[in-house]
């Protein structure tokens, strides 16, 4: 029957997740011996019809990264779902909606107009926007429709496992594929990383005091900070406590705070709300005036707390007044 087939595809993505697969380095050779890659647009020339030709369930696992923004991405995701035994949401865009999910703070037309009409580098006098159908003197060409909002993968198809991260560290991908092939799979829906927050393995954990009390949140450009001490204790917003661990604390190693790309922990239903809650608890004030002053020193809380998880959050995006 030949080697088990796996497919990799990218929806509304940046290619970072593809790079993280290439980053498997030597391991990619062991993976390639074990499986046959039947679809991987960034590196292989297989076409959509090649997937269609595979019998349903013929693909052992599809690693789909990127959020769902275009109709085509939804279509191919559904096609792969149909063809695959397991679908793994690969990377924070598929897992949570990712940074591209921030577009849900704006209406669809505003997003298109900004890019095609308003940005200084565009010359588009006629204000042409991409159209789903274009007829050039009899020649019909089609373009995928642009959805109203960005969705995470599991809001479009049924997802079996999640590999979190932006991008996911290569070891997580390898573990996922290997455990898949060796049949030692955790229960459906598991996020294949740590079950505890980043603080558990953070190199700065020892320096974190039992009680943190902050008079003002500092932005990274307005302060110097001690690279050995916990960011929060120095008034710098770090989402480590509210973010799943397993990334190897790469941002902390680079002396920058965690932005929450691994998403929230199992029993948390909204990463943004929990960020607001735990950061509020370190505000050192009792007078309402002082509290609002300190709270105001958090820049763009919505954008910061939902940096990677807006589409999969409870409210999913800006509340549209006119919607039906």
């Amino acid at each position: 029957m030949g080697k088990p087939k796996i497919a990799l595809y990218w929806c509304s993505s940046c290619g970072g997740c593809e790079e993280s697969v290439v980053d498997l380095a030597e391991d990619i050779l062991t993976v390639v011996e074990a499986v046959e890659i039947v679809f991987w647009p960034v590196a292989m020339d297989f076409k959509y019809e090649d997937i269609a030709a595979i019998p349903d369930g013929g693909i052992v696992a599809s690693l789909i990264n990127g959020a769902i923004r275009m109709e085509e991405q939804a279509r191919i995701a559904k096609l792969l779902r149909q063809k695959s035994k397991y679908v793994i949401a690969h990377g924070s865009c598929a897992h949570l909606g990712g940074v591209v999910g921030l577009a849900n703070f704006y209406k669809k037309n505003a997003v298109l107009d900004r890019a095609y009409k308003e940005v200084p580098t565009i010359h588009n006098a006629q204000g042409i926007l991409p159209k789903e159908k274009t007829d050039d003197s009899g020649r019909e060409i089609e373009l995928s429709a642009f959805h109203d909002t960005v969705k995470a993968l599991d809001q479009v198809i049924d997802v079996d496992y999640y590999i979190p991260g932006c991008p996911p560290p290569p070891n997580l991908i390898k573990n996922a594929i290997m455990s898949l092939l060796e049949g030692r799979l955790p229960p459906k829906g598991t996020v294949l990383a740590e079950t505890k927050a980043l603080c558990h393995t953070c190199p700065r954990r020892e320096s974190k005091p039992d009680k943190i009390m902050i008079r003002e949140f500092k932005r990274v450009w307005e302060t110097e900070w001690d690279p050995s001490r916990c960011f929060l204790d120095q008034g710098i917003i770090c989402l480590g406590p509210v973010t799943r661990g397993g990334c190897g604390e790469r941002c902390i190693q680079a002396n920058m705070p965690c932005k929450g790309c691994f998403g929230a922990l199992e029993s948390v239903i909204d990463q943004g709300a929990k960020s607001a809650s735990f950061l509020a608890s370190i505000i050192n004030a009792e007078d309402p005036e002082e509290i609002s002053q300190i709270a105001a020193s958090i820049p763009d809380p919505a954008g910061l707390f939902y940096r990677f998880s807006l589409p999969s959050s409870i409210l999913k995006g800006k509340i549209d007044k006119e919607a039906k």
Binding site: Y106, A115, N124
Partner: protein, 369 residues
């Protein structure tokens, strides 16, 4: 009516794409269209974000070259805050950029573009990829390349925390200095690495000659694909005009870069080695071109582009030997040439080659045509 061929999706590049080709009755290409079925809207959803978040947000435009965007965005923050980063920070950013350039080229050559050359454009679909390349050049060479790229990515991991998404960009510099150990670990990668790559070239790995040959082939075929495919056809709107201008510009610079590179390898290094110097100590740079030169070159390139030589009259693409002759090389069969066409090379002035590359790769336009 015309036959309609669709290539969907186009593959082995970063980003989504779809090509529709319409053939006329005779079977030759009537019109071809290239479309990008992906749009995310960074321009809009960056509004409202804290400025210090931008380096790590803009970089998500492309997962293959995030370092470029990250550094560009960091420099924008420098301008916004009107600060001048310390020398060390600038040097580290430069090192980061070059390490990224190096391993990105390796990605392009071995994974994305390479298969067309090494395995050949008409190889079967299943082989025309990195695995095919490894099959051709042999697993140990494959491993060396994979190891080499991975270790150079390690350089960026040491500097900025992540081999893929740097996070260290700050207005006025970067977030982490290079410690002594960082520097030694980077040197351990870079110094032997460079020698290693040139040794691959020098030792004449079987495919290299082949490669330089096919490289020329790509040079020609690449240049000769019909203008319409590059969106330069009739009736193109102003938008495509600017795209055409930009592609044209890039064509010229790419051409200059490759010529410089080839001349350095084939001509200058040989002279240097013969006279006991080390290879690669001379850098090539095209001196600034006056408008007149530009026009001559543009015309010459345009003719080359249209695939015919006024003298030869037909529309047939050049053979490899004809192009080699243009550069004063003998036909391919005699292998490498003995005598050195000394009188032909004028003395190009020498300057940092990287200068060239910075201008070469404008970030890919993010809007479908």
């Amino acid at each position: 009516m015309s036959k309609h061929i669709t290539i969907d999706p186009i593959t082995r590049l970063e980003g989504h794409g779809k090509i529709d080709i319409f053939l006329d009755e005779k079977g030759s290409v009537e019109r071809a269209y290239f479309q990008v079925p992906e749009f995310r809207g960074f321009e809009k959803f960056s509004e409202g974000r804290a400025c210090e978040e931008m380096p790590t947000l803009t970089q998500k435009i492309c997962g293959v070259c995030p370092t470029a965007h990250h550094i560009a965005s960091s420099k924008t923050l420098d301008a916004l805050f009107n600060v001048n980063p310390p020398e060390a920070a600038k040097k580290i950013r430069e090192l980061m950029f070059n390490a990224f350039m190096f391993e990105d080229h390796m990605l392009h050559f071995y994974v994305l573009g390479g298969p067309d050359f090494v395995v050949g454009p008409d190889a079967p679909k299943a082989e025309r990829n990195i695995l095919g390349v490894i099959g051709k050049v042999g697993v140990d060479i494959g491993k060396k390349v994979i190891d080499m790229r991975n270790r150079v990515r390690g350089v960026n991991a040491t500097i900025s925390g992540s081999s893929l998404y740097p996070v260290c960009g700050l207005p006025g510099g970067i977030s982490k200095p290079l410690t002594a150990e960082d520097i030694t670990s980077i040197n351990e990668i870079i110094v032997p690495g460079l020698v290693k790559v040139s040794t691959i070239d020098e030792k004449g790995v079987s495919g290299v000659e082949e490669y330089s040959g096919t490289f020329l082939q790509q040079l020609i075929t690449g240049l000769l694909c019909p203008p319409e495919a590059l969106g330069m056809g009739k009736g193109s709107t102003e938008a495509t005009a600017s795209v055409r201008q930009m592609l044209y510009e890039r064509m010229i610079r790419t051409f200059q870069f490759r010529i410089a590179n080839m001349v350095r390898q084939e001509v200058i290094n040989k002279i240097l080695l013969k006279n006991g110097f080390e290879a690669n100590i001379v850098k090539m740079k095209f001196n600034s071109v006056t408008d007149a030169d530009e026009a001559v070159k543009a015309k010459w390139l345009g003719d080359l582009l249209r695939g015919y030589d006024p003298k030869r009259g037909e529309e047939k693409p050049f053979t490899i030997d004809e192009v080699r002759a243009m550069f004063g090389y003998g036909p391919k069969e005699t292998g490498h040439k003995e005598e050195v066409p000394s009188e032909q090379t004028e003395e190009p002035n020498v300057e940092e080659e990287e200068e060239n590359e910075n201008r070469e790769e404008p970030s890919q336009p993010d809007n479908p045509v």
